[in-house]
Symmetry: C2
Subunit: 223 residues, 2 copies
DNA sequence: TTCAAATAATAGTAATACTATCAAAAATAA
DNA sequence: TTATTTTTGATAGTATTACTATTATTTGAA
Protein backbone atom coordinates (compact mmCIF):
# COMPACT_ATOMS: atom_id res chain seq x y z
CA UNK A 1 0.00 0.00 0.00
CA UNK A 2 1.16 3.46 -0.82
CA UNK A 3 0.34 6.81 0.65
CA UNK A 4 -0.02 10.10 -1.06
CA UNK A 5 1.82 12.72 0.89
CA UNK A 6 0.61 16.25 0.66
CA UNK A 7 2.19 19.22 2.35
CA UNK A 8 0.81 22.70 2.51
CA UNK A 9 3.56 24.68 0.90
CA UNK A 10 3.62 28.39 1.74
CA UNK A 11 1.36 30.18 -0.74
CA UNK A 12 3.77 33.04 -1.17
CA UNK A 13 6.19 30.76 -2.99
CA UNK A 14 3.91 30.18 -5.96
CA UNK A 15 1.45 32.21 -8.00
CA UNK A 16 -0.79 29.22 -8.65
CA UNK A 17 -0.57 26.02 -6.62
CA UNK A 18 1.14 23.38 -8.78
CA UNK A 19 -0.66 20.68 -6.74
CA UNK A 20 -3.95 22.00 -8.12
CA UNK A 21 -3.49 20.69 -11.66
CA UNK A 22 -1.95 17.84 -13.57
CA UNK A 23 0.40 20.08 -15.48
CA UNK A 24 1.41 21.73 -12.20
CA UNK A 25 2.35 18.39 -10.67
CA UNK A 26 4.23 17.37 -13.80
CA UNK A 27 6.02 20.71 -13.68
CA UNK A 28 7.46 19.99 -10.23
CA UNK A 29 8.28 16.40 -11.07
CA UNK A 30 10.19 17.34 -14.21
CA UNK A 31 11.76 20.37 -12.55
CA UNK A 32 13.33 17.99 -10.03
CA UNK A 33 14.66 15.83 -12.85
CA UNK A 34 15.99 18.78 -14.81
CA UNK A 35 17.60 20.66 -11.93
CA UNK A 36 19.31 17.44 -10.93
CA UNK A 37 20.45 16.74 -14.46
CA UNK A 38 21.54 20.23 -15.52
CA UNK A 39 22.30 21.95 -12.22
CA UNK A 40 20.32 24.97 -11.10
CA UNK A 41 22.27 27.51 -13.19
CA UNK A 42 21.62 25.71 -16.47
CA UNK A 43 18.00 24.95 -15.63
CA UNK A 44 15.56 27.28 -17.47
CA UNK A 45 11.82 27.62 -17.85
CA UNK A 46 12.19 27.10 -21.56
CA UNK A 47 13.82 23.70 -21.06
CA UNK A 48 11.20 22.78 -18.46
CA UNK A 49 8.38 23.86 -20.81
CA UNK A 50 9.79 21.63 -23.53
CA UNK A 51 9.98 18.74 -21.09
CA UNK A 52 6.32 19.01 -20.09
CA UNK A 53 5.14 19.78 -23.64
CA UNK A 54 3.98 23.20 -22.64
CA UNK A 55 5.17 26.79 -22.85
CA UNK A 56 7.13 29.21 -20.72
CA UNK A 57 4.00 31.31 -20.26
CA UNK A 58 2.24 28.45 -18.51
CA UNK A 59 5.10 27.96 -16.07
CA UNK A 60 5.25 31.67 -15.36
CA UNK A 61 1.62 31.48 -14.29
CA UNK A 62 2.69 29.10 -11.52
CA UNK A 63 6.03 30.54 -10.50
CA UNK A 64 7.53 34.02 -10.65
CA UNK A 65 10.98 32.67 -11.48
CA UNK A 66 13.16 29.61 -11.19
CA UNK A 67 14.34 30.52 -7.73
CA UNK A 68 10.75 30.08 -6.56
CA UNK A 69 10.59 26.60 -8.03
CA UNK A 70 13.78 25.71 -6.16
CA UNK A 71 12.22 27.08 -2.97
CA UNK A 72 9.07 25.06 -3.62
CA UNK A 73 11.04 21.85 -4.07
CA UNK A 74 13.16 22.50 -0.98
CA UNK A 75 10.09 23.38 1.08
CA UNK A 76 8.54 20.13 0.01
CA UNK A 77 11.73 18.30 1.01
CA UNK A 78 11.94 19.99 4.40
CA UNK A 79 8.29 19.16 5.09
CA UNK A 80 8.96 15.60 4.03
CA UNK A 81 11.94 15.37 6.38
CA UNK A 82 9.86 16.84 9.17
CA UNK A 83 7.22 14.20 8.51
CA UNK A 84 9.85 11.46 8.48
CA UNK A 85 11.29 12.70 11.76
CA UNK A 86 7.86 12.73 13.36
CA UNK A 87 6.97 9.24 12.19
CA UNK A 88 10.30 7.60 12.89
CA UNK A 89 11.02 9.26 16.24
CA UNK A 90 7.65 8.81 17.88
CA UNK A 91 8.25 5.27 19.11
CA UNK A 92 11.73 5.99 20.36
CA UNK A 93 11.97 7.10 23.96
CA UNK A 94 15.75 7.11 24.31
CA UNK A 95 17.13 10.54 23.37
CA UNK A 96 20.46 9.12 22.31
CA UNK A 97 18.70 6.82 19.88
CA UNK A 98 16.69 9.76 18.63
CA UNK A 99 19.85 11.67 17.83
CA UNK A 100 21.33 8.67 16.10
CA UNK A 101 18.25 8.32 13.96
CA UNK A 102 18.24 12.02 13.11
CA UNK A 103 21.81 11.73 11.90
CA UNK A 104 20.89 8.66 9.90
CA UNK A 105 18.05 10.53 8.25
CA UNK A 106 20.27 13.54 7.54
CA UNK A 107 22.83 11.26 5.94
CA UNK A 108 20.15 10.07 3.53
CA UNK A 109 19.46 6.60 4.66
CA UNK A 110 15.76 7.36 4.29
CA UNK A 111 15.71 6.25 0.70
CA UNK A 112 13.36 3.37 1.32
CA UNK A 113 10.40 3.01 -0.96
CA UNK A 114 7.78 3.65 1.67
CA UNK A 115 5.42 6.57 1.11
CA UNK A 116 4.88 8.58 -2.01
CA UNK A 117 6.70 7.79 -5.18
CA UNK A 118 5.57 10.95 -6.94
CA UNK A 119 8.95 12.63 -6.79
CA UNK A 120 12.27 10.95 -7.39
CA UNK A 121 13.79 11.00 -3.92
CA UNK A 122 17.29 10.23 -5.10
CA UNK A 123 17.20 13.26 -7.38
CA UNK A 124 15.58 15.31 -4.65
CA UNK A 125 18.45 14.40 -2.46
CA UNK A 126 21.08 15.41 -4.94
CA UNK A 127 19.34 18.75 -5.30
CA UNK A 128 19.35 19.30 -1.57
CA UNK A 129 23.05 18.51 -1.37
CA UNK A 130 24.18 20.58 -4.34
CA UNK A 131 21.61 23.38 -4.65
CA UNK A 132 19.92 24.07 -1.33
CA UNK A 133 22.32 26.75 -0.19
CA UNK A 134 21.50 28.68 -3.35
CA UNK A 135 18.02 29.19 -1.92
CA UNK A 136 19.34 31.47 0.80
CA UNK A 137 22.68 32.71 -0.54
CA UNK A 138 20.99 35.46 -2.55
CA UNK A 139 21.21 39.22 -2.40
CA UNK A 140 17.53 39.70 -1.56
CA UNK A 141 17.56 37.20 1.34
CA UNK A 142 16.04 39.80 3.67
CA UNK A 143 13.03 40.42 1.43
CA UNK A 144 12.57 36.73 0.63
CA UNK A 145 12.81 35.72 4.28
CA UNK A 146 9.93 38.05 5.16
CA UNK A 147 7.57 35.71 3.33
CA UNK A 148 8.45 32.88 5.70
CA UNK A 149 9.72 30.72 2.87
CA UNK A 150 12.35 29.22 5.17
CA UNK A 151 9.87 28.29 7.89
CA UNK A 152 9.95 24.53 7.20
CA UNK A 153 13.76 24.60 7.36
CA UNK A 154 13.66 26.57 10.60
CA UNK A 155 11.04 24.23 12.06
CA UNK A 156 13.09 21.19 11.17
CA UNK A 157 16.21 22.74 12.60
CA UNK A 158 14.21 23.68 15.70
CA UNK A 159 13.04 20.11 16.19
CA UNK A 160 16.59 18.80 16.03
CA UNK A 161 17.67 21.51 18.45
CA UNK A 162 14.94 20.37 20.84
CA UNK A 163 16.23 16.82 20.83
CA UNK A 164 19.75 18.14 21.41
CA UNK A 165 18.55 20.14 24.39
CA UNK A 166 16.64 17.16 25.73
CA UNK A 167 19.75 15.01 25.47
CA UNK A 168 21.96 17.60 27.10
CA UNK A 169 20.11 20.55 28.66
CA UNK A 170 23.36 22.30 29.49
CA UNK A 171 24.65 22.55 25.95
CA UNK A 172 24.71 26.21 24.96
CA UNK A 173 24.40 26.02 21.17
CA UNK A 174 21.57 23.64 20.25
CA UNK A 175 20.36 25.63 17.25
CA UNK A 176 23.79 26.26 15.79
CA UNK A 177 24.70 22.63 16.30
CA UNK A 178 21.48 21.63 14.60
CA UNK A 179 22.12 23.73 11.48
CA UNK A 180 25.75 22.64 11.52
CA UNK A 181 24.56 19.03 11.39
CA UNK A 182 22.24 19.73 8.48
CA UNK A 183 24.69 21.80 6.45
CA UNK A 184 27.65 19.58 7.24
CA UNK A 185 25.72 16.52 6.09
CA UNK A 186 25.32 18.23 2.71
CA UNK A 187 28.89 19.49 2.53
CA UNK A 188 30.57 16.25 3.50
CA UNK A 189 28.50 14.24 1.04
CA UNK A 190 29.29 16.71 -1.73
CA UNK A 191 32.98 16.83 -0.88
CA UNK A 192 33.26 13.08 -0.63
CA UNK A 193 31.83 12.83 -4.13
CA UNK A 194 33.74 15.62 -5.86
CA UNK A 195 36.51 16.97 -3.63
CA UNK A 196 37.44 13.94 -1.53
CA UNK A 197 40.69 15.47 -0.28
CA UNK A 198 38.53 17.74 1.84
CA UNK A 199 37.25 14.74 3.78
CA UNK A 200 38.51 11.59 5.46
CA UNK A 201 36.23 9.39 3.39
CA UNK A 202 38.97 7.09 2.09
CA UNK A 203 36.56 4.31 1.23
CA UNK A 204 34.31 6.55 -0.84
CA UNK A 205 31.05 5.56 0.71
CA UNK A 206 29.63 9.06 1.06
CA UNK A 207 26.53 8.80 3.18
CA UNK A 208 27.82 6.02 5.45
CA UNK A 209 30.99 8.04 6.03
CA UNK A 210 29.01 11.19 6.71
CA UNK A 211 26.88 9.32 9.24
CA UNK A 212 29.88 8.10 11.19
CA UNK A 213 31.58 11.52 11.13
CA UNK A 214 28.43 13.30 12.34
CA UNK A 215 27.62 10.72 14.99
CA UNK A 216 31.15 10.83 16.36
CA UNK A 217 31.19 14.59 16.67
CA UNK A 218 27.69 15.06 18.04
CA UNK A 219 28.20 12.68 20.92
CA UNK A 220 31.66 14.02 21.67
CA UNK A 221 30.11 17.45 21.93
CA UNK A 222 27.09 16.46 23.97
CA UNK A 223 28.47 13.77 26.27
CA UNK B 1 55.23 50.57 6.60
CA UNK B 2 53.13 48.51 4.32
CA UNK B 3 53.77 45.38 2.36
CA UNK B 4 52.57 44.44 -1.02
CA UNK B 5 51.35 40.89 -0.97
CA UNK B 6 51.55 38.91 -4.14
CA UNK B 7 50.33 35.38 -4.61
CA UNK B 8 50.87 33.19 -7.61
CA UNK B 9 47.34 32.40 -8.61
CA UNK B 10 46.88 29.28 -10.74
CA UNK B 11 47.33 30.26 -14.39
CA UNK B 12 44.44 28.13 -15.52
CA UNK B 13 42.00 30.45 -13.79
CA UNK B 14 42.73 33.40 -16.05
CA UNK B 15 43.48 33.99 -19.73
CA UNK B 16 45.75 36.93 -19.00
CA UNK B 17 47.15 37.63 -15.53
CA UNK B 18 45.25 40.58 -14.05
CA UNK B 19 48.30 41.36 -11.89
CA UNK B 20 50.24 42.11 -15.08
CA UNK B 21 48.48 45.38 -15.89
CA UNK B 22 46.89 48.35 -14.21
CA UNK B 23 43.50 47.69 -15.74
CA UNK B 24 43.76 44.08 -14.65
CA UNK B 25 44.36 45.06 -11.04
CA UNK B 26 41.53 47.57 -11.16
CA UNK B 27 39.33 44.83 -12.61
CA UNK B 28 39.82 42.60 -9.56
CA UNK B 29 39.50 45.46 -7.13
CA UNK B 30 36.22 46.64 -8.62
CA UNK B 31 34.97 43.08 -9.12
CA UNK B 32 35.28 42.59 -5.36
CA UNK B 33 33.29 45.76 -4.74
CA UNK B 34 30.61 44.85 -7.27
CA UNK B 35 30.17 41.21 -6.30
CA UNK B 36 29.83 42.32 -2.71
CA UNK B 37 27.38 45.05 -3.59
CA UNK B 38 25.21 43.20 -6.13
CA UNK B 39 25.71 39.57 -5.20
CA UNK B 40 27.30 37.13 -7.64
CA UNK B 41 24.12 36.46 -9.65
CA UNK B 42 23.53 40.15 -10.45
CA UNK B 43 27.21 40.81 -11.14
CA UNK B 44 27.97 41.05 -14.88
CA UNK B 45 30.97 41.87 -17.05
CA UNK B 46 29.04 44.78 -18.54
CA UNK B 47 28.58 46.37 -15.12
CA UNK B 48 32.23 45.72 -14.28
CA UNK B 49 33.36 47.22 -17.60
CA UNK B 50 31.37 50.36 -16.88
CA UNK B 51 32.93 50.57 -13.43
CA UNK B 52 36.50 50.44 -14.77
CA UNK B 53 35.72 52.64 -17.78
CA UNK B 54 36.48 49.87 -20.18
CA UNK B 55 34.60 47.34 -22.26
CA UNK B 56 33.35 43.79 -21.89
CA UNK B 57 35.83 42.69 -24.57
CA UNK B 58 38.76 43.77 -22.39
CA UNK B 59 37.50 41.80 -19.41
CA UNK B 60 36.93 38.74 -21.58
CA UNK B 61 40.59 38.92 -22.55
CA UNK B 62 41.45 38.33 -18.87
CA UNK B 63 38.73 35.91 -17.79
CA UNK B 64 36.64 33.36 -19.65
CA UNK B 65 33.56 34.13 -17.54
CA UNK B 66 32.46 35.54 -14.21
CA UNK B 67 32.85 32.22 -12.45
CA UNK B 68 36.58 32.46 -13.16
CA UNK B 69 36.75 35.91 -11.58
CA UNK B 70 35.05 34.51 -8.48
CA UNK B 71 37.57 31.67 -8.42
CA UNK B 72 40.43 34.16 -8.81
CA UNK B 73 39.20 36.24 -5.89
CA UNK B 74 38.65 33.18 -3.70
CA UNK B 75 42.06 31.78 -4.60
CA UNK B 76 43.61 35.07 -3.60
CA UNK B 77 41.69 34.93 -0.32
CA UNK B 78 42.70 31.35 0.43
CA UNK B 79 46.34 32.19 -0.30
CA UNK B 80 46.02 35.22 1.95
CA UNK B 81 44.58 33.09 4.76
CA UNK B 82 47.35 30.57 4.29
CA UNK B 83 49.88 33.38 4.58
CA UNK B 84 48.17 34.72 7.70
CA UNK B 85 48.18 31.25 9.26
CA UNK B 86 51.86 30.81 8.54
CA UNK B 87 52.82 34.18 9.96
CA UNK B 88 50.61 34.12 13.03
CA UNK B 89 51.17 30.49 14.01
CA UNK B 90 54.94 30.33 13.67
CA UNK B 91 55.71 31.73 17.11
CA UNK B 92 53.11 29.63 18.86
CA UNK B 93 54.33 26.31 20.15
CA UNK B 94 51.22 25.26 22.06
CA UNK B 95 48.89 23.34 19.77
CA UNK B 96 45.80 24.33 21.73
CA UNK B 97 46.69 27.99 21.21
CA UNK B 98 47.26 27.28 17.56
CA UNK B 99 43.75 25.90 17.21
CA UNK B 100 42.32 28.86 19.06
CA UNK B 101 44.07 31.24 16.74
CA UNK B 102 42.91 29.33 13.67
CA UNK B 103 39.33 29.65 14.85
CA UNK B 104 39.86 33.32 15.51
CA UNK B 105 41.17 33.80 11.99
CA UNK B 106 38.30 31.78 10.49
CA UNK B 107 35.84 33.93 12.39
CA UNK B 108 37.31 36.97 10.71
CA UNK B 109 39.14 38.69 13.42
CA UNK B 110 41.99 39.21 11.00
CA UNK B 111 40.66 42.50 9.80
CA UNK B 112 43.59 44.48 11.08
CA UNK B 113 45.17 46.96 8.74
CA UNK B 114 48.49 45.19 8.52
CA UNK B 115 49.67 44.12 5.07
CA UNK B 116 48.24 45.07 1.73
CA UNK B 117 45.41 47.49 1.41
CA UNK B 118 44.88 46.80 -2.28
CA UNK B 119 41.67 44.86 -1.84
CA UNK B 120 38.89 45.72 0.55
CA UNK B 121 39.18 42.95 3.08
CA UNK B 122 35.76 43.56 4.60
CA UNK B 123 34.17 43.13 1.20
CA UNK B 124 36.37 40.14 0.48
CA UNK B 125 35.10 38.61 3.64
CA UNK B 126 31.48 39.12 2.78
CA UNK B 127 32.11 37.47 -0.56
CA UNK B 128 33.72 34.47 1.07
CA UNK B 129 30.77 34.09 3.44
CA UNK B 130 28.00 34.52 0.89
CA UNK B 131 29.48 33.40 -2.42
CA UNK B 132 32.34 30.95 -1.88
CA UNK B 133 30.22 27.81 -2.04
CA UNK B 134 29.06 28.90 -5.50
CA UNK B 135 32.62 28.27 -6.67
CA UNK B 136 32.26 24.53 -6.19
CA UNK B 137 28.49 23.93 -6.26
CA UNK B 138 28.45 23.84 -10.05
CA UNK B 139 27.56 21.13 -12.52
CA UNK B 140 31.01 20.99 -14.08
CA UNK B 141 32.84 20.64 -10.75
CA UNK B 142 34.68 17.55 -12.00
CA UNK B 143 36.10 19.34 -15.05
CA UNK B 144 36.92 22.49 -13.09
CA UNK B 145 38.59 20.55 -10.31
CA UNK B 146 41.00 18.97 -12.78
CA UNK B 147 42.68 22.35 -13.22
CA UNK B 148 43.61 22.41 -9.53
CA UNK B 149 41.67 25.60 -8.96
CA UNK B 150 40.78 24.46 -5.45
CA UNK B 151 44.36 23.69 -4.46
CA UNK B 152 44.77 26.71 -2.16
CA UNK B 153 41.55 25.76 -0.38
CA UNK B 154 42.69 22.16 -0.04
CA UNK B 155 46.12 23.27 1.19
CA UNK B 156 44.57 25.53 3.79
CA UNK B 157 42.22 22.82 4.91
CA UNK B 158 45.16 20.41 5.02
CA UNK B 159 47.15 22.74 7.28
CA UNK B 160 44.29 23.00 9.72
CA UNK B 161 43.89 19.23 9.62
CA UNK B 162 47.59 18.90 10.48
CA UNK B 163 47.19 21.06 13.56
CA UNK B 164 44.14 19.01 14.54
CA UNK B 165 46.14 15.79 14.21
CA UNK B 166 49.00 17.30 16.19
CA UNK B 167 46.64 18.28 18.97
CA UNK B 168 44.92 14.91 19.03
CA UNK B 169 46.65 12.20 16.97
CA UNK B 170 43.87 9.74 17.70
CA UNK B 171 41.07 11.79 16.16
CA UNK B 172 39.82 10.00 13.07
CA UNK B 173 38.40 12.86 10.99
CA UNK B 174 40.93 15.70 10.87
CA UNK B 175 40.17 16.71 7.29
CA UNK B 176 36.41 16.60 7.61
CA UNK B 177 36.61 18.52 10.87
CA UNK B 178 38.82 21.06 9.17
CA UNK B 179 36.41 21.71 6.29
CA UNK B 180 33.50 21.66 8.72
CA UNK B 181 35.21 24.43 10.66
CA UNK B 182 35.75 26.51 7.55
CA UNK B 183 32.27 26.02 6.10
CA UNK B 184 30.53 26.36 9.44
CA UNK B 185 32.30 29.63 10.10
CA UNK B 186 30.75 30.94 6.89
CA UNK B 187 27.32 29.47 7.53
CA UNK B 188 26.99 30.63 11.10
CA UNK B 189 28.07 34.14 10.24
CA UNK B 190 25.60 34.28 7.37
CA UNK B 191 22.78 32.81 9.43
CA UNK B 192 23.42 35.11 12.34
CA UNK B 193 23.12 38.05 9.96
CA UNK B 194 20.08 36.97 7.92
CA UNK B 195 18.43 33.90 9.47
CA UNK B 196 19.24 34.30 13.16
CA UNK B 197 16.69 31.68 14.25
CA UNK B 198 19.05 29.10 12.80
CA UNK B 199 21.68 30.06 15.38
CA UNK B 200 22.02 30.76 19.11
CA UNK B 201 23.49 34.18 18.47
CA UNK B 202 21.01 36.08 20.64
CA UNK B 203 23.26 39.08 21.01
CA UNK B 204 23.79 39.50 17.28
CA UNK B 205 27.51 39.75 17.32
CA UNK B 206 28.17 37.45 14.39
CA UNK B 207 31.88 36.78 14.30
CA UNK B 208 32.39 36.80 18.08
CA UNK B 209 29.51 34.37 18.44
CA UNK B 210 30.89 32.15 15.68
CA UNK B 211 34.26 32.10 17.42
CA UNK B 212 32.81 30.95 20.72
CA UNK B 213 30.61 28.33 19.06
CA UNK B 214 33.49 26.89 17.04
CA UNK B 215 35.94 26.96 19.92
CA UNK B 216 33.53 25.09 22.17
CA UNK B 217 32.79 22.70 19.31
CA UNK B 218 36.41 21.89 18.45
CA UNK B 219 37.68 21.32 21.97
CA UNK B 220 34.73 19.19 22.98
CA UNK B 221 35.45 17.03 19.97
CA UNK B 222 39.20 16.82 20.45
CA UNK B 223 39.58 16.73 24.24
C1' DT C 1 -25.07 24.13 -22.41
C1' DT C 2 -22.94 27.94 -21.13
C1' DC C 3 -19.45 30.52 -19.23
C1' DA C 4 -15.30 31.28 -16.74
C1' DA C 5 -10.76 29.80 -16.23
C1' DA C 6 -6.56 27.70 -17.82
C1' DT C 7 -3.57 26.65 -21.52
C1' DA C 8 -1.13 26.82 -26.09
C1' DA C 9 0.75 29.40 -29.56
C1' DT C 10 2.95 33.21 -30.80
C1' DA C 11 5.30 37.55 -30.54
C1' DG C 12 8.16 40.67 -28.56
C1' DT C 13 11.62 43.16 -25.27
C1' DA C 14 15.58 43.94 -22.42
C1' DA C 15 19.44 41.90 -20.52
C1' DT C 16 23.06 38.44 -20.43
C1' DA C 17 26.87 35.92 -22.08
C1' DC C 18 29.43 35.72 -25.15
C1' DT C 19 32.50 36.29 -30.20
C1' DA C 20 34.58 39.04 -33.82
C1' DT C 21 36.69 42.96 -36.10
C1' DC C 22 39.56 46.72 -36.50
C1' DA C 23 41.61 51.06 -35.44
C1' DA C 24 44.01 53.60 -31.78
C1' DA C 25 47.09 53.64 -28.05
C1' DA C 26 50.69 51.89 -25.28
C1' DA C 27 54.51 49.23 -24.28
C1' DT C 28 58.90 47.15 -25.98
C1' DA C 29 62.63 46.07 -28.74
C1' DA C 30 65.87 47.37 -32.42
C1' DT D 1 64.27 57.35 -32.23
C1' DT D 2 61.54 54.54 -35.02
C1' DA D 3 59.51 50.11 -35.86
C1' DT D 4 56.99 46.36 -34.16
C1' DT D 5 54.25 43.90 -31.22
C1' DT D 6 50.83 43.83 -27.80
C1' DT D 7 46.90 45.63 -25.52
C1' DT D 8 42.92 48.27 -25.43
C1' DG D 9 38.62 50.76 -26.99
C1' DA D 10 34.87 51.13 -29.86
C1' DT D 11 31.58 48.94 -32.19
C1' DA D 12 28.78 45.25 -33.93
C1' DG D 13 26.52 41.11 -33.74
C1' DT D 14 24.49 36.41 -32.08
C1' DA D 15 22.20 33.08 -29.16
C1' DT D 16 20.10 32.52 -24.93
C1' DT D 17 17.70 33.97 -20.84
C1' DA D 18 14.16 36.03 -18.32
C1' DC D 19 10.59 37.79 -18.67
C1' DT D 20 5.49 40.31 -20.46
C1' DA D 21 1.56 40.57 -23.52
C1' DT D 22 -2.11 39.02 -26.71
C1' DT D 23 -5.30 36.04 -28.52
C1' DA D 24 -7.37 31.74 -29.84
C1' DT D 25 -8.45 27.29 -28.15
C1' DT D 26 -9.44 23.93 -24.77
C1' DT D 27 -11.10 22.34 -20.42
C1' DG D 28 -13.98 21.92 -16.65
C1' DA D 29 -17.52 23.36 -13.35
C1' DA D 30 -22.34 25.30 -12.61
Amino acid sequence: MEFKLNFDINEKIYLRNPESSEIGKLMIKKAIDLICELGFEQFTFKKLALEINSTEATIYRYFENKHRILLYILNWYWCFMDFLFTVKLENISNDREKLKLIIKLLSNEFLDNLYHNEYNKIYLNKIVIAESSKAYLVKDIIEINKNEVFKPYKDLSGKIADVISLYNPNYKFPRSLSTTLIETSHNQQFFSMYLPKLTDDIHHNGSEFTRSFLEDFVFKILD
